[in-house]
Structure formats: structure tokens, C-alpha cells
């Protein structure tokens, strides 16, 4: 392997080149630090590795097996985690929402979960920065939350047939709706073209109209001197005799290497970050790194993401256009008398044939296969779909742990244990009814409700109290001051909207902090740490 920093101690090593790792790599290398980024997957070339094809692009997801347990075992891989440089941003829909003030104050407002140690205002400047940096397109006025627009780039036009169906249904019911804010260009930006409504956002954008850290932040980081190493699976965070992080070990093509660093940042996402911390247990930290609270891996969340399909007399053609182009957040915050707290976002959501067929084959009414499935699928073009992004409350028993089974590198696999709570179920039921009403108001007849989930958050939550959290609000671990965690695992609650914008805003805030504290962080005395 041709290395720039082999055998050197760099300022920062970042594990994972996804939404957060990409931002950190760019910000820190541009500020003059020596940075190495390690990612388990390949360096993708969108024009040659991506294809307009669902089946072959499943490999953009993290396919490595995780063991799933609990009352509601999760579907992993493409559903939530990415693999390769760019991570999940290579295959997300590009929906780019901000959290609301209420998302940071669940305990105060609703007596559930916990408050974040920061509020919306702490993140606002970083949302601004990130959205500007990637030219988010969106409406002139966004009716909900704290930020009302306008977005930097105009909203997308034309929309998709399914988005127009959604708008029609919302109009009939008096539900407010907007064109979704998207990390997808509506006009040229830098050297990238606007979207051509190809529709394969989840399969990797070939024209580069959709933002990903693969095509935006990582190239900028590399130009600023960062060394980005694909196909390198980090196996352990090393600590020195004083208990501080001293670097990482990683495996590339079967051979083990060491990267020494003054600062270690884990941006490996909600499953792999705790897995790595737990797999890095040593004599000094027998229950894993940064785990004196016992909270590493605990309280992780997903979003409920049920889909509702309705059949129409006229063709809709779900395959056309960016999957999500129309959205409502009218049900985002706690509704009096709804029988549950918190809320959800609804999106018009397109589907190519595999997503459609796999969905309806596994709907709430049972398995659908054989002649009946084939007959239904022949009417693929007549279906419209709405999907939800529902807040799921954290529970300490929903957790990432190490399984007995080992992977090909000999590391214990991650075990992902998840069960919905009562509030989560009521919220889903409410949303499913609402989605059906929208589709029927547009002229459709509901035929399938497909249980699903999307996104992962939490598992290394931030907090002011080191006994009940893993990191402070900057992602700095309470236990080891030169070990940072920066990805969705530091979320305290899941919010009710797509989380990528928040992941990236948090990363920009952490980068700012590290930059400002650099002198202190890098000159940490050689005193032992008391944990």
C-alpha cells in the first residue's frame, strides 16, 4: 500500500468516510492538520461503479452480516448503513431537513427520553454552513420548525407524478405541503449539473447532481492534504500507558497496519462505532473504550418508516423522478389528544420495481407470492406511495452488543437488538391512517401497508452527565479526552425527520471545536486519566 503517513503519528485519524467523516476530514485538513481517513469499503467512481439498477447497487449498503434480535428485528444494510467512501450519502434520497427546537427538548416538553445538552440555536449556524456548502434546493418558505427558508437554490421543478398525487391528496384534506428540501441540485453548482430526474438516488447518483461526501467533502479533504484510505477495516482503537487514545489498527487486504494519531475520531455510524469501542476493550478498559457509564451501544434508535401503497385508476409510475419531492411536517410535533407524544414527517416516495415488489410481498396482511403477486405487480404503474419518518423513543434495552459469532477478520459481529415501544406503535398507527387518507383523497384505494424502518441514531449519546452518556455535545468522550465520536450515534433522540443534515451540522460543530481547542487537545499532559 502506497502511504503518505505510514509510520508517522498524524494529528487526526478518522474512522469512516460517510456523512460526518467527510465533513470532519475536509474541515480539519483545510485548517492545516495532518489527517488520515480510513474506510472499510471501496473508493467508488460514480460514472463507472454506479448503475441505473437496483439489484447491482445493493452493494452500496453495508452488506456484512449483523445479528438482529429483539421483538422487532431490524433490516440492515441498504436500509440504513452505507459502505465505501461516502458512506450512506451515496445511497440516501437526499432529503435534507433540519431538526426542530422541540427535537432537542423531549424531556422538557413531553416528559419522555432526554433533552440534548444543546438546543437548535447551537446547531443553526452549522446547518446554515452545510446547506450553503452543498447548495440545498428547497422552497422559498418552509412552514414548520425554526428555519423557514428561503433555501439557497430554488425548489425542484418538475416534480414526479407521485409527488403530484401527494400534493393533490394534501390539498383536498387541508394539509400543508412543500417541495422537499433536497441535497440535490436544481441548477448548476461548482462543477456539478442539476438533477435530470433519473430517479436512482438510492442506487448512487451517476450525474453527480446529488450531493454525497464522496464527491464533495472527500475530494476537498484530499486536495487539502488528507490521506484517504479505502478498503481498510479498523479493528481496534489503541490506548497508551496513560489511557489516552494513541491510534488505530486496521486491516487492508489481509494485512494488519497501525496508524498512530494524536486524536482519534470515530465516524463509523451507529452499529460500527459502538462495535469498535467494545471490540477495543483492554486491561485498562475491560468493558470497552469510553464505556465507564455502560451506555456504549445503549439507547440506539431507528425511524419508523412504514409505507402505504394505494392503487389508482390512472397510471402513477412510481419509477419516475427523485424519490422524495413532496413533504409535509404538519404532524411533526406532539398533537393534543393523539394518544402518543412526538410525531412524524410524511413524504411522497417513489419506488423502483424491487423496492415495490419486496415491499408488497411482505406487507402487514401477510406474505404475498405466486400468481397473486405476479398479477399485482403487473399493475405496478398504477400504484402511488407515501412513506413516514416517525420518531422512535430511545430505550436502554435497544442496544448494540457483541455477538459470540465472529466475522472473517475474527472480530465479534455486532448484535443489534430492537423492539418498538408502545408510543412508537401508536405513532405508527396514526401515521398509517393519515397516509391512507392522503392517498384516498387523491383518488387511490389503499392496498398495502408495509412495515419498514430507516436511519439509525444513538448508541453513544451525548450528555452533560458522564454517568449517563458517552460524549459531551462536541462528541468528545467523557472518559478519554482525545477520543471523539462524531456520527449519528451521538444523537439523544431520533427526531421526526431525515437525520443527515443534523449529522453533518454536528460534524461541522465538532470540527470547529477541535480547531479551536487544538493547542490544548494536542498538548494533553502525560497525566494518567481517572475513569
Amino acid at each position: 500500500m502506497n502511504r503518505k503517513y505510514a509510520n508517522e503519528e498524524v494529528d487526526v485519524v478518522i474512522v469512516g468516510a460517510g456523512a460526518a467523516g467527510g465533513v470532519l476530514a475536509k474541515e480539519l485538513s483545510e485548517s492545516g492538520m495532518s489527517v488520515v481517513v480510513l474506510d472499510a469499503g471501496p473508493m467508488w467512481d460514480p460514472q463507472h461503479d454506479f448503475a441505473s439498477d437496483e439489484l447491482s447497487m445493493q452493494r452500496l449498503g453495508w452488506e456484512e452480516t449483523r445479528l438482529v434480535d429483539g421483538r422487532d428485528p431490524l433490516t440492515m444494510g441498504h436500509n440504513n448503513s452505507g459502505r465505501g467512501i461516502g458512506g450512506g450519502t451515496t445511497h440516501f434520497t437526499g432529503v435534507f431537513l433540519r431538526f426542530h427546537d422541540a427535537d432537542f427538548r423531549a424531556r422538557t416538553l413531553d416528559g419522555v427520553a432526554d433533552d440534548w445538552p444543546i438546543g437548535y440555536d447551537d446547531l443553526a449556524p452549522y446547518y446554515d454552513k452545510i446547506e450553503k456548502e452543498i447548495a440545498v434546493s428547497g422552497p422559498k418558505h418552509f412552514p414548520w420548525g425554526n428555519f423557514h427558508g428561503p433555501y439557497l437554490y430554488p425548489e425542484r421543478d418538475p416534480l414526479s407524478p407521485n409527488a403530484y398525487v401527494f400534493q393533490k391528496g394534501c390539498e383536498a384534506l387541508g394539509i400543508r405541503h412543500v417541495v422537499a428540501p433536497l441535497a440535490i441540485l436544481s441548477a448548476p453548482f461548482e462543477d456539478r449539473p442539476p438533477c435530470i430526474n433519473r430517479g436512482f438516488c438510492n442506487q448512487g447518483c451517476m450525474p453527480n447532481a446529488k450531493f454525497s461526501t464522496l464527491i464533495v467533502h472527500i475530494p476537498k479533504a484530499m486536495r487539502a492534504g488528507a490521506e484517504v484510505l479505502p478498503n481498510c477495516m479498523v479493528t481496534q482503537v489503541m490506548t497508551d500507558k496513560h489511557g489516552r487514545a494513541s491510534g488505530v489498527t486496521f486491516v487492508h487486504e489481509g494485512k494488519e497496519y497501525v496508524q498512530k494519531a494524536r486524536l482519534v475520531i470515530l465516524s463509523a455510524y451507529v452499529v460500527e462505532t459502538p462495535r469498535l469501542l467494545l471490540n477495543s476493550a483492554n486491561g485498562r478498559y475491560p468493558s470497552g473504550l469510553a464505556n465507564s457509564s455502560g451506555w456504549v451501544g445503549r439507547g440506539f434508535m431507528t425511524h419508523s418508516s412504514h409505507d402505504v401503497y394505494a392503487k389508482f385508476a390512472e397510471e402513477v409510475r412510481l419509477y419516475k423522478g427523485t424519490p422524495v419531492l413532496a413533504t409535509t411536517q404538519d404532524f411533526y410535533e406532539t398533537m393534543p389528544d393523539a394518544g402518543f407524544v412526538r410525531g412524524y414527517t410524511l413524504h411522497a416516495h417513489g419506488a423502483r420495481p424491487l423496492a415495490f415488489v419486496k415491499g408488497i410481498a411482505n406487507s402487514q396482511t401477510g406474505l404475498l407470492w405466486g400468481e397473486k403477486l405476479r398479477q399485482t405487480a403487473l399493475d405496478y404503474n398504477f400504484y402511488g406511495r407515501v412513506t413516514m419518518v416517525g420518531e422512535v423513543l430511545p430505550h436502554p434495552d435497544n442496544r448494540i452488543t457483541l455477538a459470540d459469532e465472529k466475522d472473517d477478520l475474527g472480530l465479534p459481529r455486532a448484535k443489534v437488538t430492537f423492539s418498538f415501544g408502545e408510543n412508537d406503535r401508536r405513532l405508527i398507527d396514526h401515521a398509517v391512517v393519515k397516509m391512507g387518507q392522503i392517498l384516498e383523497a387523491a383518488g387511490g384505494k389503499v392496498e398495502f401497508v408495509v412495515p419498514d424502518t430507516a436511519h439509525l441514531m444513538g448508541g453513544c449519546r451525548m450528555g452533560a452527565n458522564p454517568d449517563e452518556s458517552v460524549v459531551n455535545s462536541y462528541g468528545q468522550t467523557h472518559d478519554i479526552p482525545n477520543l471523539f465520536i462524531c456520527d449519528a450515534s451521538i444523537f439523544v433522540t431520533s427526531g421526526a425527520g431525515n437525520p443527515t443534515n443534523t449529522v453533518m451540522a454536528l460534524a461541522a460543530r465538532t470540527a470547529d471545536y477541535i480547531r479551536k481547542q487544538a493547542a490544548q487537545l494536542f498538548s494533553l499532559s502525560e497525566k494518567p486519566i481517572h475513569v
Binding site: D53, E54, T65, F200, G370, A377, L378, Y380
Partner: protein, 200 residues
């Protein structure tokens, strides 16, 4: 009579020249029958041929052959499964044991292979397995039936609905790069999209 397709004369492959080379290569390769298997034995492949046909309600040889090749490749190339329940064996083992159990069941009840049974018998056994109620227990004790059924259904559907012939039938316009979609409102179609033909 059950319906066939709304778009009988549509052929998505007639637009292949407009797709990028990489996508063209991937989709075109699905039309070529492969001859040898890396994982499946002959008997396993023949059980699956009957099984997968029934799963998708389609007996056409060339499409089902692609499904078998996809399953064979998935089971042999060492990729992960994304997720697996702790009490379920890894996919290659689950399917090998599952096919063995299917064969043993058919042998014990009818002294035949699954693919030699009458349609209704195949259908009945598949329904039982999909509901986790296939017997005898001596054969099925170590195979989680519903996990087996869902795994095979998933592999089969992802291959079947990636076959361009099936895309054409459901009126899916397929790959859309370098061109994209412009005409998006109700009743608008871009030039290469399928048009309804057989509405009465």
C-alpha cells in the same frame, strides 16, 4: 383469464443503446444463460427451478434460469446477508439444509423429488412452509421454515424483477442515464416509456 401485461409491445431492451455502458453491461448479462453452478448441486437446482417458478407464478425457462444463477452466485460469493437472526444459520447453510428437508419431505410422503410432484402438491407444501407448519418434525426440527421461505422469496424476487423481460411487462422504463425524465405530470410520458395498450 388472468391478465398478462398492459404493455404487450413494449421492450425496454430496445432502448439499451441509450443507457450508460456500465448499466448496459449489467442488464444485458442477465439475458445470457450461465451453464455451471458454483454452489448448487443438480438436484438442488431442479428443486429451486420448480420452487422459484411457483414463487413468481412464471414458468418461463430463461427467466427462471437467471433467478437460479443469481441465487447460486449470491450463495457462493461470500457476501454478507445484511442481517440474520441469531438462531438462523447463515444463508448458504440455511438453504442447503432447507432444500434437503424439502426433498426429504417429498421423498417420505410421495417417494418423489419436489420437482416431480403435481402442481397442487408443490403449492401445498410451499404454503405449509411459508406458515411454518410443514411436517414431519423429524425432518424440520433444525430448519426455521419461515426464514427459509422468506430468504428464497427475497432472492427470487430481486432477480426476477431485475430481468428486462419482466421490466417490459410491468411497464417499467428501466435505466435512465444519461437521459432522465422531463415529462412528469399526470398523463405525460417521455418518449421511451411504455404506453397502455390493452385497456378495454
Amino acid at each position: 383469464m388472468s391478465k398478462t401485461t398492459h404493455y404487450p409491445s413494449y421492450d425496454v431492451m430496445s432502448h439499451a443503446e441509450h443507457w450508460d455502458d456500465h448499466t448496459q453491461h449489467i442488464v444485458t448479462s442477465r439475458l445470457i444463460r450461465e451453464k455451471s453452478y458454483s454452489f448448487l448441486t443438480t438436484v438442488e437446482a431442479e428443486i429451486l427451478r420448480a420452487w422459484c417458478s411457483k414463487l413468481v407464478g412464471d414458468m418461463r425457462g430463461e427467466i427462471i434460469q437467471y433467478v437460479l444463477c443469481h441465487i447460486d452466485q449470491t450463495l457462493s460469493d461470500g457476501r454478507g446477508e445484511g442481517q440474520r437472526k441469531p438462531d438462523v444459520a447463515p444463508a448458504p447453510e440455511l438453504i442447503r439444509k432447507g432444500l434437503k428437508a424439502i426433498d426429504a419431505t417429498c421423498q417420505s410422503l410421495h417417494a418423489k423429488h419436489f420437482f416431480e410432484l403435481e402442481d397442487y402438491m408443490q403449492q401445498g407444501l410451499m404454503k405449509d412452509i411459508s406458515e411454518g407448519s410443514a411436517e414431519p418434525a423429524s425432518i424440520w426440527a433444525s430448519v426455521p421454515q419461515q426464514d427459509l421461505f422468506k430468504k428464497l422469496l427475497n432472492y427470487t424476487l430481486e432477480a426476477y424483477y431485475s430481468h428486462p423481460t419482466v421490466w417490459s411487462e410491468i411497464g417499467y422504463a428501466g435505466p435512465a442515464y444519461p437521459r432522465g425524465y422531463i415529462r412528469a405530470r399526470a398523463g405525460q410520458w417521455d418518449a421511451w416509456e411504455a404506453r397502455l395498450e390493452n385497456e378495454s
